[in-house]
Amino acid sequence: MNQFFATFLSAGFWYGVIRCATPILFGALAALMSRRCGVTNMAIEGIMMFGALVAVIGSALSQNVWIGLLCSIVIAVVISLGLTMFKIRMQADEIMSAIAINLFATGGTVFVLYMITGEKSNSSKLANPVLPRIDIPILKDIPFIGEVFSGQNILVYVAIAAVFVIYYLLFKTPLGLRIRSVGGNPNAAESVGVSVQKMQYIAMGISGVLSGLAGAFMSLAYMNMFTAGMTAGRGYIALAASNLGGAHPIGALLASLLFGLFDFLSNSMQQMGIAPELIQMTPYLATVILYSIYSYMKMTEKRRKNKKLAKGKAA
C-alpha cells in the first residue's frame, strides 16, 4: 500500500498522467468542436488510427517528422470533411458512416502497413524520426513542478494551448458564435443567413486537425512507431470526456486528465504484479462507472430535491 501512495506522490507519475491525457484531450477537443456544430462525431477513433499510420509513413519517407505530422493532419481533415459530406450532401446517417470509417480504419491501416513493410503488427521496419521533447527554461528548475511539466513532448504543450485557442474561438469570435448557433438551432442560424453547411464544414475541419494531432501523438510521441489497433478506444474515451466536460474546452481538459490518470494508473500498477488485463480494463470500467454515476446524479437530482422540499415544508 505504501508503494501505492509513493507512486501517487512521485513526479514521474504525474508526468505520465499528462502524457496519457494528451491524446484524449486532442480527441475530446475534436469531439466538442463537432458537437458544437451539431454533428456527433463517432469517427474520431478511426480518424486517429489513420492519422497515426500516415504520420509514421510520412515521417519515415521524408525523414522529416514535421512532414509526418502534417500528413496526419491532412488525412484526418480529409476524413472529417468526408464524414461531414456524407451527412450533409448524401444525407447519410452520421453514426452509420462513422462506424464504417472506424471498421475501415481497423482493417485498412493493417493492410497499408503490410503493403509497405510486410509486417502486420507494427511499423518497426520503418525508421522514422519522432517528435522532440522540450525542456522549458526556468520551469524545469522548479522541483516537482518542473519534473512534471517540463520535458514533455512538444504536442503536450500544443494540446494545452489548443484548449485556450478553442475556447477563444468558440466563445469570443463571430465564427464561434455562428458555430454554436448552428449546433443550438440550425433553423435559427439559417433564418438570419448563416450557412449551416459552411459552419459544419469549418467546425469539422477544425475537429479534423485536432484528431490528426491526436493520431500523430500516438505514433510519433506516445510510442515511436505505429502498431495495429494502437488507439485502443481512445477516440471513444475522448467522446466521453467531451460529454463529461459539458462540451466546454476547460471541462474537456479536466475530464481528459481524469481519464489520463486511469490510463496511466493501469500502466504503472502493472509493475506491482497486478494482472495487466485487469488493469487495462480500469479506464474503460471507470468510464462506465463515472459516467453512470454522473448521469444518475443528474437524473435523481429532482427526486432528492423534491424529498428535501417535502421535509422542509413539514418541519
Binding site: Y168, K172, T173, P174, G176, L177, R178, R180, S181, G184, N185, N187, A188, A189, E190, S191, V192, G193, V194, E301, K302, R303, K305, N306, L309, A310, K313
Partner: protein, 518 residues
C-alpha cells in the same frame, strides 16, 4: 402598375413534389405602411405563401414585384437583403444564447478577430430603444417569457433593416395583455413606415389592428378587402365558406360528485425550481373546469402530474377516491378512466410516422375485446377506425395514410377522435384547439360540451382565453404556481378581470380559493 403598390404577388402557385397544391394563382397587393391581414383556415396555404415571400420555398409559378420591380427570392438571405423580415410561428432562436447574441447573429461587430460584445450590446439596445421595446440584452433566451421572445424575434428582423415584416400567427401564444402590447408596438412600426403582414385566423384581432385583409381558402385567394367595408361575419364566411357561429351553445352544467381530486400538489420543474406550490382542487362529473394563466405559471406541470407524465411530485392525486400511482402513472390513470388530449400533438399526441389506423387504435389495441387470441382483431379495429374517421370528419385518402401527411387541424382531429371515443370519467383537454382552423375548433368545442352533458368531467387548459371563458362552467386562475382565483360560475367573469388575476395584480382570499377543493 401604380407607384403606391409596395409589394405585389401575382398568380403564385406552389405544388409540392408529392402533388399537394398549397397555393394556386394567389394574388396579394400590399401598400406601404399598412398592416395587412392574411387570413384563412389551417391548411389554407398562408404559411406556404409567406415562406415563398421569405425565400424558404420556391414558387412553382408566379411573380413577385417589389416597388414595381420584378424580383426573385431564392433564400432567406435574399429576402433579408430586400428588406423583408419574418417572425416565424415557432421562434427561430438558439435558446442557449443571450438576447444580444441572437439579435446580432450573422452580422456580428468585430474588434480585430474577436467579437465586440460591447458594441453588440449597444447595437441591440439602440434598435430596441428606437422602437420602444423593453428587453434584457444579457439574459439567455431560454429564461424569457414567450412575449419577450417574440420581441427579440421582431428585433432580429428590424436590425437587419426589414421594411416589410411578416408575422406568422403572432398572438397565438400571447396573453390578452401581451397581445395589447404587441399591437401598440405594431402601430409604432406602422407609423414609422414599416409594412406588416399579420397572419391570423382570429377575426377580432384582425379587425382591431389591420386595415385590409387578404383571405385564402383551400390555397386560393378569395379576395382582398378593406376592413372598413366588411363585417366579421362576412369575413368568417369568406374564410370557411360557411357561417361560423362563434358563440358556443350549451345548457347549464349539472355537476355531480367529484371524480378527480388534487391534494396539496407540489412540483419542481426541470431546472429544480418549485413551480406548483401546494395546489388543491376538485373536478366534478358533468362540469368543465377551465384553467387559465399566462404560460409558465405551473399549469404545464400540474397537467403533467394529473395525467401521469410527470412522476416526481409531492401530494396526492385521486381518481374516484383512489390514489394514483407515481411510477408508470399514465397507464394506471387511463385504466381508471382518464383520457388526455395533450397540448403538443406532435410530441405526445400522435405517432407521426404511423398510419391513421395505428394512431387511432393506440389506446384500445390491448383491450381483450379488440384481440383474437394473440392477434389483433383487424376487422374490428378497421371498422372502428372507419367509423371514427367519418364521425370526426378527418380528411384523408385512406386509413393507412401516415399521420405526418395530414394537416395540423386534421392531426388534432385524430387525437380528439381517439381520446373522445372510449369510455371515460375524466377528460383532460390541454390546448385542444391550438393552431387549428375555425371549423375544426367549433367541432371540437361541440364534442367537449357533448361529453360534459354525458357526465364526463372535463379539465380544460387553453392559451386562448375566449375559448376557456366560453367553454368552462367554472374557472381557476393560475399565477406563479398557485391558484389565485376560483370562479364557480364562469359566465359571470369578464376578460379584464381574469387578466388582473393572471398577471398577479389581484388575488382572492384563501377561503374563496379553498371552495374549489370542497
Amino acid at each position: 402598375m401604380s407607384e403606391t403598390n409596395y409589394l405585389e404577388l401575382r398568380k403564385i402557385t406552389k405544388v409540392y413534389p408529392n402533388g399537394v397544391i398549397a397555393n394556386e394563382d394567389v394574388n396579394m397587393v400590399l401598400q406601404r405602411g399598412e398592416i395587412h391581414a392574411l387570413m384563412g383556415e389551417n391548411g389554407a396555404g398562408k404559411t406556404t405563401l409567406m415562406k415563398i415571400l421569405f425565400g424558404i420555398e420556391q414558387p412553382t409559378s408566379g411573380e413577385i414585384y417589389l416597388e414595381g420591380q420584378k424580383i426573385e427570392i431564392h433564400n432567406p438571405l435574399d429576402a433579408i437583403s430586400k428588406k423583408i423580415g419574418m417572425v416565424h410561428q415557432h421562434f427561430m432562436m438558439d435558446e442557449n444564447l443571450t438576447v444580444t447574441e441572437n439579435v446580432i447573429l450573422g452580422m456580428e461587430p468585430t474588434k480585430g478577430l474577436s467579437l465586440d460584445t460591447k458594441k453588440a450590446r449597444e447595437m441591440t439596445m439602440e434598435i430596441a430603444k428606437k422602437y420602444n421595446f423593453k428587453i434584457t440584452p444579457d439574459k439567455r433566451v431560454m429564461d424569457l417569457s414567450v412575449g419577450q421572445k417574440q420581441k427579440v424575434e421582431i428585433l432580429k428582423a428590424l436590425i437587419r433593416g426589414a421594411q416589410l415584416l411578416i408575422l406568422d400567427e403572432p398572438t397565438a401564444v400571447l396573453t390578452p395583455q401581451e397581445t395589447e402590447e404587441l399591437f401598440e408596438q405594431l402601430k409604432i412600426l406602422r407609423d414609422e413606415g414599416h409594412t406588416i403582414i399579420f397572419i391570423s385566423h382570429k377575426l377580432n384581432e384582425v379587425k382591431h389592428i389591420c386595415s385590409r385583409a387578404t383571405v385564402l381558402r383551400g390555397g386560393k385567394s378569395v379576395g382582398s378587402h378593406d376592413l372598413k367595408d366588411i363585417s366579421l361575419a362576412e369575413l368568417s364566411k369568406l374564410m370557411v365558406g360557411r357561417d361560423v357561429v362563434r358563440e358556443i351553445e350549451k345548457q347549464k352544467a349539472k355537476p355531480g360528485d367529484a371524480v378527480l381530486e388534487v391534494k396539496n400538489l407540489k412540483v419542481l420543474n426541470d431546472e429544480l425550481v418549485q413551480v406548483v406550490n401546494d395546489v388543491s382542487f376538485k373536478l366534478r362529473k358533468g362540469e368543465i373546469l377551465g384553467i387559465v394563466g399566462v404560460e409558465g405559471n405551473g399549469q404545464r406541470q400540474l397537467i403533467d402530474c394529473v395525467t401521469g407524465l410527470e412522476s416526481e411530485y409531492q401530494g396526492e392525486i385521486l381518481i374516484d377516491g383512489k390514489v394514483c400511482a407515481h411510477s408508470n402513472g399514465v397507464k394506471q390513470r387511463r385504466d381508471a378512466g382518464l383520457n388526455h388530449i395533450p397540448e403538443d400533438r406532435l410530441t405526445y399526441g400522435v405517432i407521426a410516422n404511423a398510419t391513421l389506423l395505428e394512431n387511432l387504435i393506440s389506446n384500445t389495441y390491448d383491450k381483450k375485446e379488440n384481440n383474437k387470441g394473440i392477434f389483433m382483431d383487424d376487422k374490428k379495429n378497421s371498422d372502428r377506425v372507419t367509423d371514427l374517421i367519418s364521425r370526426f370528419q378527418i380528411k384523408t385518402d385512406s386509413k393507412h395514410t401516415l399521420v405526418r401527411m395530414l394537416s395540423g387541424g386534421n392531426m388534432q382531429k385524430v387525437v380528439a377522435a381517439r381520446e373522445m371515443s372510449t369510455d371515460m370519467s375524466i377528460l383532460v383537454a390541454d390546448q385542444p384547439t391550438r393552431g387549428i382552423d375555425v371549423g375544426t375548433e367549433s367541432f371540437i368545442h361541440d364534442r367537449l360540451v357533448e361529453m360534459r352533458d354525458k357526465g364526463v368531467a372535463v379539465l380544460l387548459v387553453s392559451a386562448d382565453i375566449n375559448e376557456v371563458m366560453e367553454l368552462s362552467d367554472s374557472l381557476i386562475v393560475f399565477y406563479e404556481g398557485e391558484i389565485t382565483a376560483y370562479f364557480p360560475d364562469a359566465s359571470k367573469v369578464t376578460e379584464e378581470e381574469l387578466g388582473l388575476y393572471m398577471l398577479g395584480l389581484k388575488k382572492m382570499k384563501d377561503e374563496e380559493i379553498a371552495e374549489v377543493a370542497k
